[in-house]
């Protein structure tokens, strides 16, 4: 295939603006997949993705399209994750493209992720093809949205295709714009191989499958390749492209093409997204720019509800890690929860997805601890330590300076909610940066916020204060010093390590009150009175009491039905097994969950 007839592009959109639906329509139109094989939203092939309407892992597909000019084009559609947690993966996917379709919802207009992803695409010099979607909705106002795109993003949009991905209206116009506006790939087919890894997945039969964009040169079966960041070398077993349902082993890939390589690679850790593939015996001079290691930002302890399932949990995490190199975990022990794992995630969504997959796909019942970020602590002896587990937080007297990670947050909202959002951001220790009107109605606000203030429930709080209208995006922005303290929770006088967390000094008191109230609500009355306390460095700052149980008795036995009484006691015994015994106190799993939802 002539390079000039190749188009490599992706679709960027705010969540729910119709990215997956448009991708489906394009697959249909190009007959890449027979209609009878269509499942709604084909590119998102994990259940969770489909339910949440988000794309977790990038996928790519090759389409053949005969354009109005009579020529046949190869269209490589690279699907990108839409969420900030996967920002780096997005940036690598963008680097594999020459252009991007920008979908904007005809009634909602530009949202926070629309902007974030567009800026990212512009950074990679991509040609943007704006598309107005959902014009079939009664509330659609494509005219206003076109102006918004021109004014806010500054790209021409008045002649942007106006489509309905749902009904299939005007999809062909989108592909015509892709062919006409997005440049063909450049690159020297005779230069040494230089290919970008933009994704990789583990396949139990083929080993790791790496998704690549060939920038220069070519690769074929039998070639010995080198992955430049890790230095690992492998012999190519397959090289080809991605059909919608199957990989097609074409035997070789050339400059400008998007495809896959397998090479009996056992570990996904060897194939880092962003790395450069070259030939071992004829390497290129330098790797492609932009590669970096991805580090987890949010940490949480994950424990099996039933300690007997520790082995199952480890196995499940190992399997998930095969396909997700950004998930990290190591064993940890909690006095309260027993044996479990400290897991690291790219962000909150990533954490939720992993927890959900563990529970759903591996049928595990889990207890998770409050999410924590990495604190950077300068000790009085001059050392600097990084703490991702509140249990390991040093005593206050040993700390010279404590720093916490902060993010730059961008919030888009209808103007009537500006006050609510300011209140929320002040409450979350945010620093106001600026605010601009996108149009008469909509405002973009910028804040610097401590990451630890958004890992709990910021997104939910934002949604509830803006009736769901505000959108939110963030990027990490280094460390800032903060007045931080470790808050311990004591049950019956004993610290429960799994409930400790780090909090800013000013918020310690309200948080302590809230957490003790929540625990009191969720811990059932026991034979003994149970004090529930919160403390900073041994000083109690909040207390509630779970009163002693006074009455739990069967006053009467129905007509001599002794078996019923016996079963009742047996059931009661079973109920106890689902509780965690912390010292002399029995704590139900829900109590651990409840403290994660303090805003309710």
């Amino acid at each position: 295939m002539d390079k000039s007839n190749i188009r490599n592009f992706c679709i960027i959109a705010h969540i729910d603006h119709g990215k997956s639906t448009l991708a489906d329509r394009i697959l249909e139109l190009t007959k890449t997949v027979a209609l009878r094989d269509m499942e709604d939203q084909l590119l998102d092939n994990m259940d969770i993705e489909r339910e949440r309407g988000i794309t977790i892992k990038a996928r790519a597909v090759r389409l053949l399209y005969t354009a109005d000019d009579g020529q046949e084009y190869v269209l490589n559609l690279i699907d990108t994750p839409g969420h900030v947690d996967f920002n780096y993966e997005v940036s690598r996917s963008l680097a594999a493209c020459e252009g991007a379709i920008l979908i904007v919802d005809a009634s909602q207009g530009i949202e926070a992720q629309t902007l974030a992803n567009t800026y990212l695409a512009l950074e990679h010099d991509l040609e943007i093809v704006p598309v107005i979607n959902k014009i079939d909705l009664p509330s659609a106002d494509p005219e206003r949205v076109c102006h918004e795109i021109e004014n806010v993003i500054g790209i021409p949009a008045l002649d942007a295709p106006r489509i309905s991905a749902k009904t299939g209206q005007n999809i062909r116009a989108v592909l015509e714009r892709v062919v006409a506006d997005i440049p063909a790939p450049k690159g020297d087919a005779d230069a040494p191989l230089k290919a970008l890894i933009f994704d990789s997945i583990y396949d139990p039969y083929k080993g790791v499958i790496i998704y690549v964009r060939i920038t220069d040169g070519k690769v074929k079966i039998g070639d010995r390749i080198r992955l430049m960041a890790t230095g690992a070398e492998f012999d190519v077993v397959e090289a080809g492209y991605m059909g919608a349902v199957d990989l097609v082993n074409a035997g070789e890939l050339h400059a400008g093409e998007v495809g896959y390589i397998t090479a009996s690679i056992k570990s996904i850790g060897d194939t880092k997204v962003g790395d450069t593939v070259t030939l071992a015996d004829a390497p290129c001079d330098e790797a492609l720019p932009g590669y970096r290691e991805v580090n987890p930002m949010v940490f949480s302890g994950i424990y099996p509800a039933d300690g007997a399932h520790y082995g199952d949990l480890r196995e499940a995490l190992e399997k998930l890690q095969l396909n997700d190199a950004s998930l990290s975990f190591e064993p940890e022990t909690s006095a309260a929860l027993g044996f479990g794992f400290r897991c690291g995630f790219l962000g909150l969504l990533h954490m939720e997805i992993i927890e959900e997959r563990l529970e759903r796909e591996y049928n595990l019942d889990l207890i998770t601890t409050a999410p924590s970020v990495i604190y950077k602590i300068r000790l009085t002896n001059g050392d600097t330590v990084y703490i991702d587990n509140p249990s390991n937080y040093p005593e206050n007297t040993l700390i010279a300076e404590a720093c916490e990670p902060v993010v730059k947050a961008s919030i888009l909202t209808p103007k009537e909610y500006v006050g609510n959002i300011m209140d929320l951001c002040i409450d979350r220790r945010g620093t106001f940066k600026d605010m601009t009107y996108l149009d008469e109605d909509r405002v973009e606000m910028h804040y610097v916020l401590p990451l630890n203030e958004i890992v709990y429930d910021f997104f939910d709080a934002l949604k509830s204060r803006t009736r769901g209208y505000a959108s939110f995006d963030y990027e990490l922005s280094g460390y800032e010093p903060g007045k931080l303290v470790k808050l311990d929770v004591l049950l019956n006088g004993e610290v429960v390590d799994a409930l400790s967390f780090i909090v800013s000094e000013e918020k310690a008191y309200p948080r302590a009150r809230k957490i003790t109230e929540k625990l009191k609500e969720h811990i059932p009355r026991q034979l003994f009175e149970v004090p529930v306390q919160a403390a900073i460095g041994g000083k109690i700052i909040a207390r509630e009491t779970v009163k002693a149980m006074r009455k739990d008795v069967l006053a009467k036995c129905y007509g001599g039905d002794i078996s019923r009484k016996k079963k009742l006691l047996e059931k009661q015994k079973e109920g106890k097994k689902r509780m965690r015994q912390l010292g002399s106190v029995e704590v139900p799993q829900e109590a651990f969950m409840a403290v994660l939802k303090l805003d309710e």
Binding site: M549, K551, A555, K556, G559, E570, K573, K576
Partner: protein
């Protein structure tokens, strides 16, 4: 063969009380047919009995003739305790005399309270005056009389309970059953938000502890979680349950324990009357073991002898004042009885 207890369920009630989940229905017109079915089953199962208990429902809705027929059909040892539950609204002097002639020698009156407000809240058919009249009639005829009281009713004042106990002891009854109200699923009470809001575990526990204390002062020491009696007047039939002794239960929703088998009868009067022999279902075919024996006996103030491992596990409850131990004999304290489910489920199960 040693003597068993005989329980006969009389499933008729003129009106359902809001807290009751016992099997009953309003149609007492079938009582002759019902009596015939009871007698068929007594003959079928056989055995000899040293206690008989007519429970309900409302046994006093049965005619004295039917009660007599049933008693005549059973092999009852001389000196047996023959109890019958009665509701104050269906008590008359003549009827009570006739029951006595039929063989009944102990009457348990469903008084529940003397407070008119509480009685109407519970949908009882009698009022305080009716309760006193019935008591006085029954006391004049029987010299072994028991009365039921309810503790912990919605919005109940401790003083009401204390007055009720004084009235009962004033009548000189021999036995008092004082049951703490329990909200059973499916009852009208369980749907009555207005009343549920007036039920509180702590208040119930206080009322119970107060009642146990007061009853003891009036000469009714506690012998079981909900039962109090003048010495020598403990209910022998009910003691069979707690002593893990055999009993035959006849009637819909009745339960039996014979051999190692515990079994029940479905709560359906039609099929009970239609079958030549009542159909039973086994609830436990290896009953009467050590655990069960302790579970039952620990309801009694006399407690029971326990093996060393149980005594050792009970240590923490003894230290905290929920139990006492004397040699190998373990007992609940009053405070412990109140939370006995919680303790037994850890101690024995």
């Amino acid at each position: 063969m040693s003597s068993r207890g005989l329980y006969i369920h009389i499933p008729f009630c003129r009106r359902k009380c809001i807290y009751c989940d016992f099997y009953s229905l309003a149609d007492e017109g079938v009582q002759d047919e019902y009596t015939a079915a009871v007698i068929r089953n007594i003959r079928h199962f056989g055995g000899c009995f040293d206690t008989v208990y007519f429970g309900g429902g409302t046994p006093s809705l049965m005619s004295p003739e039917n009660i007599a027929r049933i008693l005549d059909s059973a092999d009852i040892v001389s000196g047996a305790e023959i109890s019958m539950e009665a509701n104050p609204d269906s008590v008359t002097h003549e009827k009570m005399c006739a029951y006595k002639s039929a063989g009944v020698n102990r009457v348990s009156l469903g008084i529940q309270s003397f407070d008119d407000g509480e009685l109407s809240m519970l949908s009882r058919l009698h009022d305080g005056r009716g309760a006193r009249a019935a008591l006085s009639a029954v006391r004049g005829i029987f010299d072994n009389v028991s009365a039921d009281l309810m503790l912990g009713l919605p919005f109940q004042k401790p003083s009401t309970v204390s007055d009720n106990i004084d009235i009962l002891s004033g009548f000189g009854v021999q036995h008092i059953s004082a049951y703490m109200l329990k909200v059973e699923e499916g009852t009208e009470l369980s749907r009555r938000e207005d009343l549920l809001s007036g039920i509180d575990d702590d208040v119930q526990a206080d009322i119970y502890e107060g009642a146990v204390e007061q009853l003891s002062q009036r000469g009714y020491p506690q012998y079981e979680i909900s039962n109090f009696a003048r010495p020598g007047f403990e209910c022998r039939h009910n003691l069979k349950y707690w002593h893990c002794e055999e009993y035959l239960g006849i009637g819909p929703a009745a339960h039996s324990f014979i051999g190692k088998r515990r079994f029940g009868v479905r709560g359906d009067i039609r099929s009970f009357m239609a079958s030549p022999v009542m159909e039973t279902f086994t609830t436990d075919d290896n009953a009467g073991g050590e655990t069960e024996r302790m579970m039952l006996a620990l309801r009694l103030n006399e407690g029971c002898d326990v093996p060393p491992d149980v005594a050792q596990r009970a240590g923490r409850y003894i230290d905290a004042g929920f139990m006492t131990i004397d040699g190998t004999r373990l007992r609940f304290t009053v405070k412990g009885m109140l939370v006995s489910n919680e303790i037994l489920s850890s101690l024995l199960m």
